[in-house]
Symmetry: C2
Subunit: 434 residues, 2 copies
C-alpha cells in the first residue's frame, strides 16, 4: 500500500490526540484512505522538552524543515492562535501541500485568504474540527444539506459555558462558584474570558453562518453577549416558565440581512437543544426542505477533536491520491447584507426590581406599550432578596420585537420612579422567531 | 452554466418532493452543483393520471426511454420496493448513469450487487435517504467518522413506532388505541406490520451496521422483535425506574462478532436518545476517538427525504462534472463473523405475574441465580389488574448476561408453580453494555 507523509504543526492536546488516533486505528484508517498515513515530522517549540508517545517521529523546531520537504503532502495545523499559524498554512498551500486545521480563530478572521490560497494552489483546505470538536458539522453543512435554503442555525458551541449553565441549573449554584468548579475540573481556563464572554462561540458562529448562508460573515459582524450576568434567579424563572438558559450561537437569514449573534437564550424545555447538557455541544439547523436537524457530540477534548482532524486528513489523502482535491470549495458565492443589531428581532425576558406598591405593574406594561413592545406575559412576585419585603419583582416576556424597540422600552423603564433596577434582559427563542 | 439532465423513477411522495426541492432552491442548488440540474424524464406507471406540478417534464411509462437517453446522466430511483427497482438501478449503472436511491429494501438485500455494479461501471451509487430520511448519516459515517473504530450504533430509525411509543408514554394510551390514532394521522400504514414488527428498522440496521463495521450485514443476520407486545404497564415501570422504552436498531462489534438487532429497549432517561420523541429519528454512535455523537432529525416525509435525495443528486452531478465519481466506494472491506443471538449480551427487564404468597420472590431470585443470571434489582408489587389481590407482580432487572442464559432462566421460571405468567421481557441498555 502507498504511503502518504504528513506533518503536524504542534504537539499539544489536539496534536497528541491525532498521533494517538492515527496509531491505534491504523488498519481502519489505511483502508479508508487507501494509503498508509505516516507522520514524518512534527513542529514543536522546544526540542528538548521530554515527550511521550512521539517515538519514531522527527521533531523539528523550524517550520522550513516541513515546508521544504517535498515528500510531505499534507500539513496539519494544530498549534492554534493566528500568528504564526496563519502564515504557516498559507505557505504550506503555496508549496502545494493540502492543509487540515482545527483553528477557528484563523478561519473566522482570515477565512477568505485561506480559501483563496487553496483555490489558487489547487489543494484541499479542511477544517471540520474548528467548530463542534468531533461533531461532523462542516462537511454535513457543505455536502449533505446542500438541497436546502438554510433559514436558521442555533448552536451550543462552547462546552465551558454549557457546563457552567448546566451546573447552575442542576446544583442551584451561582455563577462564581460554578466558574471555580469548572476551572478546578479543567473545563475552564484560568482566564475564562474567551469562553464566558462569548468570543469563542462568536468565532464558531461566524464560520457556521458563512457556510450556511453562503456569504462571508466576519467576526466583527457577530453581536456578542456572554453569560457572566446570568443570575441563579434567572435560571429558576426560566425553569418555572418552561425554559432552560443556553449560550447560543444564532445565525438567521432575515429580510433585513444575515443576523448573527451569540447570547444567553431562553429555549423551550422541549427544544432538542434543551437536553444538551454539560460540556456537550450541539448544532441545530432549520432548512426549507429538511425542516429541522441536529448534530450532537463532544465539542472539545483531545481524541474527539482528533476524530475530526484525522477524518480531514483521510479526505485530504484521498484528494492527493485520486486528484479529487478542492472538490468542495469555499461556498461563500453570495454577498448578502448584514442585519444591524438594532434591526434584529427576538422575544425578550425582562426581570425588574420594583417598589412593592399598587400601580407599578401597570406603569411597566404602559412603558412597554408606549414603545410598541407587545407583552406575551407579565408576572409580579414578592422579592425574597429584599428583607423588608418593600420590593417586588416583575418578570415580563415580550412577543417578537425589533431590538431597537426593546432598548427604547428599557430606557423608559429606567426613568420610572418605582423601578429600582433592570436586573436581567435575556432573549427568548420562540416559535414566532422561526 | 452547464446543464445536467437527470431522470426520476417514480413520482410518489418522495419523487414529488424531489421535484419541489429542485425547483424552489434552484439558485442554491445550481451554485453548489456548479451546473443546472434538469429533470428531463420521469417514469410513472400511469401516463393518464392527472398530476400537479410536473409541467415541463416528460412523463414516460417505459424505463427504456430513460435508459436509452444518453443525455440522462443520473437516475434517481424513488419508486421503492425491490422489483423492478433493483433491475432498473443495475441497468442504469451498466449504461454509465450514476444512481441515487432512497430504497432501503434493495440495499439491505442486494447491496453487494449494487456496489459491485457502481465499481464496475465507474459511476456513483448514493443512498443517503435510505436511512433516517433527511438526516445526514450515511455520508457522515463514510466520511466524517472515518478516524474511528466504531463500537456501537443505536438508532431510532422508524418514525411510526417512535410516535406510538411516545404517545403511549405521554397519553397513557394502550397499543391498540395509539396504533389507530397513528393510522388516522397517516403515520402508520393500514397494514402496519413492516413498522410495528421491526422489519423496516431491521433493514436500516443492516445498512448502518454494514457501513459502521465495514463488513456486510445481511437482513437475515438481524434479530428482530417488534413493539406489539409492549404494555402500558411496561412503559409505566420504565418511567418509575428512570427509563423510557424505544424501538432501537442496535449494532455492536463484540469479541464474538457483529451483533445486530432490532427490539424495544429500556434506555436511561438521561441518554441523548431518550428525548427523541414523536416521528423524529436519531442515530447515536460510539467510536473509539469521538466518544459519542448523535444525529437527529425527520426520518420520513416528502421534503425531508427529498433533502437527502437532492444532496446525493448534487454529489453525483459533481462526480460527473469533475470526474470524481466513485470517490467513496463500498466500505465493506472486512468480513467479520456474525454474533449468533444466543451469544449476544444485554441487561434484561423481566416482569412476572406471580401468586401473592411468601417465598415467591426468593424462588424467582433462585431461578435466575441457578442460570448464573445476576440481578441488579428485583421488586415485588401488588398487582392492580387482579381484583382479588391474590396476585403480585415481580419486576427484575438483570446485569448484563448472555441471551442463552436469560432464555434458560425464563424456562426455569415457567416451570415454577407460583408463577402465573411471564408478562414481559425487554432488553435494557446500560453502561455495562457499552
Amino acid at each position: 500500500m502507498q504511503k502518504m507523509k504528513i506533518a503536524l504543526l504542534g504537539a499539544g492536546t489536539v496534536g497528541s490526540g491525532v498521533v494517538e488516533v492515527l496509531r491505534k486505528n491504523f488498519h481502519e484508517i489505511s483502508q479508508k484512505a487507501n494509503c498508509e498515513i505516516e507522520i514524518s515530522k512534527i513542529l514543536v517549540r522546544n526540542l528538548n522538552r521530554p515527550r511521550q508517545n512521539l517515538d519514531g517521529i522527527e521533531l523539528v523546531d523550524r517550520f522550513e524543515k516541513i515546508l521544504e520537504d517535498p515528500e510531505i503532502k499534507i500539513v496539519v495545523e494544530v498549534m492554534g492562535g493566528i500568528h504564526p499559524a496563519l502564515d504557516y498554512m498559507l505557505e504550506s498551500m503555496k508549496h502545494g501541500k493540502s492543509v487540515v486545521t482545527a483553528n477557528k480563530d484563523a478561519i473566522a478572521e482570515h477565512g477568505k485568504d485561506l480559501f483563496e490560497a487553496a483555490e489558487k494552489f489547487q489543494v484541499d483546505f479542511l477544517f471540520e474540527a474548528s467548530v463542534g470538536g468531533g461533531i461532523p458539522i462542516i462537511m454535513p453543512l457543505k455536502e449533505c444539506l446542500t438541497a436546502n435554503r438554510i433559514t436558521e442555525i442555533l448552536g451550543i458551541v462552547n462546552g465551558t459555558t454549557n457546563y457552567m449553565l448546566t451546573k447552575m441549573s442542576e446544583s442551584h449554584a451561582d455563577y462564581d462558584s460554578v466558574l471555580k468548579e469548572a476551572q478546578a475540573k479543567g473545563f475552564a481556563e484560568s482566564d475564562p474570558s474567551a469562553d464566558v464572554d462569548g468570543l469563542d462561540a462568536a468565532r464558531k458562529a461566524a464560520i457556521l453562518s458563512s457556510i450556511a448562508f453562503n456569504s462571508r460573515i466576519q467576526l466583527q459582524d457577530v453581536h456578542v453577549e456572554g453569560i457572566s450576568k446570568i443570575k441563579l434567579d434567572d435560571i429558576e424563572y426560566a425553569k418555572s416558565l418552561g425554559y432552560v438558559i443556553k449560550l447560543l450561537a444564532v445565525g438567521k437569514e432575515t429580510d433585513r440581512g444575515i443576523d448573527v449573534r451569540v447570547h444567553p437564550t431562553f429555549i423551550s424545555k422541549d427544544h432538542p437543544l434543551a437536553s444538551v447538557n454539560g460540556v456537550f455541544n450541539a448544532i441545530y439547523i432549520r432548512g426549507n426542505a429538511i425542516g429541522e436537524v441536529m448534530f450532537f457530540g463532544p465539542g472539545a477534548g483531545s481524541l474527539p477533536t482528533a476524530s475530526a482532524v484525522v477524518a480531514d486528513i483521510i479526505e485530504a489523502a484521498r484528494g492527493k491520491l485520486n486528484g479529487t482535491f478542492g472538490r468542495v470549495k469555499c461556498t461563500c458565492y453570495d454577498q448578502k447584507p448584514h442585519c444591524p443589531i438594532e434591526e434584529t428581532r427576538s422575544s425578550y425576558y425582562v426581570r425588574l426590581l420594583v417598589d412593592d406598591k399598587p400601580g407599578v405593574l401597570g406603569k411597566v406594561a404602559t412603558a412597554f406599550g408606549d414603545e410598541n413592545v407587545s407583552l406575551r406575559s407579565v408576572v409580579q412576585t414578592k422579592c425574597h432578596a429584599s428583607p423588608d419585603h418593600s420590593h417586588a419583582e416583575i418578570v415580563a416576556i415580550t412577543h417578537e420585537v425589533e431590538h431597537r424597540k426593546i432598548i427604547a422600552a428599557l430606557e423608559r423603564l429606567k426613568n420610572l420612579d418605582s423601578i429600582d433596577e433592570i436586573q436581567s434582559v435575556i432573549r427568548v427563542d420562540s416559535e414566532e422567531n422561526s
